[in-house]
Amino acid sequence: MHGNKRWAMVALSTIMLTASWAIADDDDHKGEEHGKNKTTENAAPATMDPVYIKECGACHFPFPVGMLPDRSWRAMMADLPHHFGEDATLPEKVAAKILDYAVANAGERSKNRLDRYVASSVKADQVPLRISEVPFFVEEHKEAAKHVNAKGPVSHWSSCPLCHTKADSGSFEEHEIKIPQANK
């Protein structure tokens, strides 16, 4: 892909994802079509399902679904009334649509090579429900672990965009990391 074209696509997907995450809030915007970009081998997924962003993003950062394997998504979506201690029940049809999207793009069948690697780091008998339990994640965040604590500016692993400054556009490159420091 030519440099300019690639940059244009990155910029476009950044704007779209940022916008959709910003409006996801708990204010529901229905049926907006987001641009569809081709996913290159190692690029972050350029599109996220708008229903996924709207419903899941209403409470938390809409994590890239490729960071968990197929079986994790099936287990998660089968028990929304007990979603990490919260009741996250969705109408059946909406939940089914999100599950379709998640399993279609789950780690093992993602177009993204890194996602496939992440999925392969999970042992066959494990069904992680938290991305932060995936072996690849744990390994990659060894150094960052000391910055994540209840009293600091980064209190939960779920707050990806606090350190990954381009997370909203689906990019988690090392040079984009900026860890917020506690006020002293």
Binding site: D25, D26, D27, D28, A58, C59, H60, F61, P81, F84, G85, E86, D87, A88, T89, L90, P91, S155, H156, S158, S159
Partner: protein, 133 residues
Amino acid sequence: MIKQSMMAVLFTLMTMMTATAATLEEQLASYRTQGAGTFDAKAGQTLWTTSHGTDPEVGEKICTACHMDDPHKPGKHRKTGKIIEPMAVSVNPQRFTDPEKVEKWFLRNCRQVMGRECTPQEKGDVLSYLGSL
């Protein structure tokens, strides 16, 4: 035959109505058709500010744990930190204009906080409270 067609038209209209934006008043009217009586903002406030104990995983079970004490101000999801827009209709007129959204959150949050679903009366009381601010 004609009766059937009319019913079909009526049903379609009703579906269209529930799918489009509703006012708070329409929302309250729908609770009345489900058996609720007169709504009481004071009772709604009591419900909104009553604690139902503590959940070991998520903390105190009370509306204000996430929505915060002042409904005119934004709340914050206690685990994810996600900002929740104000609940008071006076500062956030978009509140309660989407019946599907209202029901989705009542279902989740009543079960979360009270351990059961809210009755139409309770929902109407809470909306009356948040609509009166």
